[in-house]
Point group: D2
């Protein structure tokens, strides 16, 4: 059966080996522990939606490997329409959970990137990575598992290449090649939604040169693989996750970002998709970012939708009509539709890879990355502007104070406005959560920095062609090469 | 023969009745008069490109009416790909001419809008407008004519409906209905590229209500129709058009915007596509803006490309390396790709009209309209920033001063930098022309104002749906309708 | 002795009646409790600086009442130079503490506002409020106390006037007038730095009309007055305050914002500065905002200075040279100097009140308020941009995980870059703290909303004068009054 | 008599030797020639205002040399209040003329810069430049002359120092030193208001090093000095200056920018203020920009005031109420007050030079320069947005077409809205003139480029101090110097 139920998904997480920690404490059950429960619930909604008649078209598609219905998150992106569905899916999930369900989309995009890269590598080197990937994918579809993805290495001193670092483990690397597989050591950091996933798809972290062969590695592993230790990072106001009440009002959505620590982890050959082909590491990353930086516009659009709703909800609780804020709402909508739309445009302007996958346009997806790194900040500011001082930094007494037997009645009395006190607090807490609290996703640097995107834009900007256009228009006959720098 | 040559095009303009004026002077030949020659040359490049093997795929397509190759500007937009081609065509034309060749795209878009609207009207009222349109279009394709388009009425006092105006002619209107056609009176204002066109396609100007029936009118006429007088408007630095030299460095591109004065012009029935169906006037305008406000992003992107090139050309002439300006160039590229991309997105998210035409997404195209009304201003500012004081307001001696026998040698001496004086002047004049001169198109209000676009965005923003999302997420049970305004 | 030592200040807080709660728990000693200790330490630095030879000129001045040295925070602002010192003081304190020491500046500004307002009231009504204020101030200077200030009422349903509210307590009000004083009931909300203060200065919250007399009230009370209960609100990541380690790296600075609940509190006459004079309530608020919205530019400039430093510190820890970020640093500097400078300008363009106080220019201070509500958001975004993914949402393992005996060594290993792991974490945590953590002050709505500021700007914008300028320039003879709205 | 009448001023211009050209034509009388008449009228208003009782306080002050009333433009700036008056004067002049009356403020600022620089040079080298300057100034005050100022050299290849240029005349230089004076050759370019001036004050153009001694030169000359040829540059739509009617609606304001060509001009010693002291050339320029970049905020604020008025005037002519545009007007006001206010702040934070002159703060004045280079562009865009398509590029028939006997009545008919046609045209033409026409001043690069200002901001940003603040706050003990660049 290719589409699991929510209950099957939860059960699959429960039976995994506990290897995730936070605050130096082992998380025995990710589905109930406060540090991970919300993100699991967020991801769990995907399984519910996939079996819901009204939503299943968005959440599922047909496997081109088997012709069976499968989760979109396990499908190969083959047409612009598949990318549009990607953007819509991301937007929908942010609307449903208020934040990032990153335990699926990075893995999905990583798999698609390696779908192309393995095809390229095989063509060049006669390897069989692509078949390995297909075999694993078919099985993953059949199991309907949740797969997170990992890209970022610790990097150590940024001025040095991987093989030049004082500590050779600063980039994830192969320390032993066996007949039946590889042994890897190192770390991947700031990885989303691992706690909600069954497996983790590993990409090479950047471009590699000569001498860096051991760093050019890609594979997929169970989340609870032997030798893998996972430490969840902090995020703003994260200890509220464990509190009773409504100081975090969202129960079925939450974000986790982990450090994955590989202490000589064994990867069997059938799960290895790159091992030393440095020439294709950058290619794999480019396939990844072309798609990822397109669709991420759907994410921040979806959260922007929630920010609009939450801000107006707070204004209404205060007794204010939404028309007062029309210009601000329009600007927030413009921001949302711009990141969403630019992702659609990158998809539409993409190209078919010989493997059959659809690769989005790299220039447009990197332009979108810059918007994703800026526009949501304005949207957050406008949400706080509309919602007022109680939302700006969540400047309200705690749930415990609401329930105080000594003065709780006074908090109720003075927090009440047009709506009752709890409603007003929940609305303002949602704004806080989404703009300066635990719901803020790390989208500025997630999938790479905006400065990196600007380098791509610069490289793809065809400056000389534009200079030539201008020269012809201006009727200039002199050649106009760039002068040397002073 | 469905694709005319440049020479045939020029000849067709020469033989029309002179009815265009500027500075109270009749323009006898639009192909040679300084006020119109540049725009004719700009439009003429379309005919050259359509017959050029390397460019013909961009400029021509296959008529769905005849299966023959036709100019894209005379084709029905049926697929997203046709819209992508529309955006690319507009961008290409701005790159070729440095400015607007508006004598084709407005007419094209107007025809497509009425392609849908006539289908709707016929369905509702049993009229035969759609067949009339097809018959005319088939003929227009066969003649390969240039068709401009007209939307904007004078409007008089903006606080009054058309039928309430003191002067009933403030919106173009039917003053007589004959068996064989209509007689119309009034004006259309700020109409692009009329001087370069063979015919003019007229749209209703806005939404109309009861009592406004005579204003709900659409038709197509020869540019030199009896009773039609055309007055070209001024644009910045327009008298330089008639000067010798390089103070306007661009020779094969230029913009004209005209006032069309209808003094009881007769329109035969076969050229009438709406006559009194007020219910469909707004619809027609919406079809128009959905497409127009999408593709216009290509226009400003194309001019942005030229601004980048011109600014860097000037910097090089000054001896400055382009890397110094990398961040600014990246920002200009982001602006260009954003308006281009949002147009693509609107196309991709569009829908098939029952008539077979493709209608772009109205929300995304209106978001793009707002970007088109703002981002090019930043691009212009950055171009001036890079190019320096001589470009900012074109602060250089005139061509005549360059050629002065008294001191021309001193101008040459002191204008020379890394490039020779004339090159430097031409480059800076191109920046001036494109950012504060005769090349600046009226894109902020062309096809409607950004405030109008914001009203559409507000109406399509689904605010209540977003409030409900937030309410669910925040766990609020209270209903949250909008309070009354204070 | 007019300048207390740090030790005397701490002792004065320790001996006050405990009446502050957080999380439904009574704070027995504000100087040691984790919820309030940091803000007390922040305020304590003022006392140290006032006795430090190098800093005392900034922190102290001469009392115009006694000619004795006094804390600037207890002085009457009489010259532009006093306002410049105000801006510098605020900037310095943000630089020292990284955040708001709001327990002094609001009280200071409130006292200065009432210095003017009492003079006005006395002149109109023959009352003796001004003398009361002087007497109290002289004593406060002698005691060198810390005085916070309170402005914002709960407001209830924003569409209703104070006296129209269902619950009459939605604005702080007089419930009884006795011969020896007033009894007040209600609340003041979102009040900064109360926990670090000895007394609290109360302003009327807004403009009042007929029937609202009981709401037009101003006075000063001991923080531990009988009948006053104080509840500290939450702020982002506030529970980290109680944690060991460096997840909040700042120890000598912190912000608190409280709800003050007045249950029939008695105010003796000599501490009452307004009681029913509704005509002067708005005036008092205007005096307050003119000064407050000027000097607050110093606050956000000071925090901006810290954001620059913290971002570059993180970049250096990563191994990145600061020149890479030059354009971003310049933009951050521009933002800082703009809010600082506009405050200086408002001061310079101010005017002498007949009471002898200096009142800053209201137009410029409100323009500054809008900058204060927007520019720091850009500065924060740029700080996160420079500092990278670990700073953006503080995406790093907790201090407890650093110290884990199981895997702490791996966290150290992989967090190390050019600097050692702890240094890198402290730097990134400082960026997190200042941009999305406990250090974020509520400056957007603090002292009123940016929308309120825009209303003032609109009212003071002299539109008709500008229309007349334009009419004269354009040579228009027709009168041009505003048309009626459609 | 120290204050001349308007008539005396005009007479003084008429009797000068004609040495100004435009379009290769000698301008016989600058007071009547269309190319220069408007700017002369603009400058002439200064003389009228100086003798007007209501305005004289703004326009005149008391000479510190003689105690007599003198034009502010001939005074030494000695206090912050003198700088505030400078900002107000500039704002007032833009409000009066709609554009730049640059023939006074650059000369004024240049004189003040050399007032300081000559004092410094004399102190170092024992020269008597300062006394020469005082003597000349006293005489200039007595004659009440108009003095323009010149800074910018042609610069040739920007990658080379003055003495390294292929042509040694690329920077104005001394070619001969005589006992009684200097002979200079070269050019100064883009010089404002020369046509309206009696004398021209010359500054060194930049910093100079060893070997550049002949370029470090400052002096003052009559505008019609022997050997000096002046060529006026073009500006947008400049040929309209010579047209009848209202296509340029402004008659008493206009801008000119000239190239000054020095063909071995003799400067008598008593008018030379620097000759070879390279060490002080940069200093002189810094004195200049500190003051100039502060007060220029008043200029763009004044034009911004006119843009607001002109935009609303057009809206009213269209029948639209100004409240519709409230948010846009508020933003325009914010832009105006920001550049005005930052200039005030730079003045307030300035310092007394030992010579007795007041030097504004260089950091704040350079921050203001960046605002001056950006905010007016937004203000212009908003003016066009409010005023609509007829204003955006001035898309209206010409005055000649309005007067056409053939169709002028139709232009009147269709241009009429709520106001009559001519009023509407004048209002829209004023917006065009101020935002994309002949009224646009060259403020982005006037007095130096925004990139130059950013270099100053970077240099004065005290980065290491801010890093130290952050390091102390974060509790970091490791030293944190900048890493080497990759």
């Amino acid at each position: 059966m290719a589409i699991r139920t929510y209950e099957e998904y939860i059960a699959s997480l429960k039976k995994m080996r506990p290897n995730i920690y936070k605050f130096d404490e082992l998380i025995e059950d990710v589905t109930t522990h406060p540090a991970t429960k919300s993100t699991v619930e967020g991801h769990g909604q995907i399984y519910k939606a996939a079996l819901d008649d009204e939503q299943k078209d968005v959440f599922t598609t047909v496997s081109h490997l088997t012709g069976e219905p499968v989760s979109r998150y396990l499908s190969v992106i083959q047409e612009p329409q598949d990318m549009y569905a990607n953007s819509r899916l991301k937007r929908t999930m942010f609307q449903k959970t208020g934040t990032c369900t990153g335990g699926r989309c990075v893995g999905w995009t990583a798999m698609n990137a390696m779908f192309c890269a393995t095809w390229d590598i095989d063509k060049e080197f006669g390897t069989d990575y692509h078949q390995r990937l297909l075999a694993w994918l078919k099985d993953a579809q059949a199991r309907d598992i949740t797969i997170s993805g990992a890209l970022t290495d610790p990097k150590g001193d940024r001025t040095k290449k991987p093989s030049e670092q004082d500590d050779p483990d600063m980039y994830l690397r192969v320390v032993e090649k066996r007949d039946d597989g590889l042994v890897v050591r190192g770390a991947k950091v700031m990885i989303c939604g691992v706690a909600a996933s069954n497996e983790i798809f590993i990409l090479p972290g950047t471009s590699y040169g000569e001498g860096d062969e051991n760093y050019a590695v890609s594979f997929v592993i169970p989340r609870d693989a032997e030798g893998l230790t996972i430490v969840e990072t902090r995020h703003p106001s994260d200890t509220r996750d464990g509190e009773e009440g409504f100081d975090i009002p969202v129960k079925d959505g939450g974000i986790t970002q982990a450090y994955l620590l590989f202490e000589d982890v064994f990867i069997p050959n059938e799960r290895v998709f790159m091992a030393g082909e440095t020439k294709f590491a950058l290619k794999a990353v480019q396939y990844f970012i072309s798609t990822y930086r397109a669709a991420i516009g759907g994410c921040v659009a979806g959260q922007g939708d929630v920010k609009i709703g939450a801000a107006i909800l707070t204004a209404r609780a205060n007794g204010l009509n939404s028309k007062v804020f029309r210009d601000k709402i329009v600007q927030m909508n413009i921001n949302n539709e711009t990141t969403f739309g630019m992702g659609i445009a990158a998809a539409a302007m993409g190209r078919k890879h010989p493997s059959g996958a659809w690769v989005s346009d790299m220039l447009l997806s990197n332009v979108n990355k810059v918007h994703v790194a800026t526009l949501p900040y304005e949207t957050s500011r406008l949400a706080q502007d509309i919602a007022g001082g109680i939302a700006e930094t969540g400047c309200m007494p705690s749930y415990k104070d609401f329930k105080s037997t000594k003065y709780g009645h006074l908090i109720e009395k003075y927090m009440k406005a047009r709506s009752k006190a709890e409603t007003r607090a929940r609305a303002a807490r949602l704004v806080e959560w989404a703009t300066i609290g635990a719901g803020v996703p790390g989208c500025m640097h997630g999938g790479g920095s905006p400065d990196g995107a600007k380098l791509v834009i610069n490289a793809m900007g065809q400056l000389e062609k534009k200079v030539e256009m201008a020269r012809r228009l201006a009727g200039i006959e002199e050649e106009m090469p760039d002068p040397g720098k002073k």
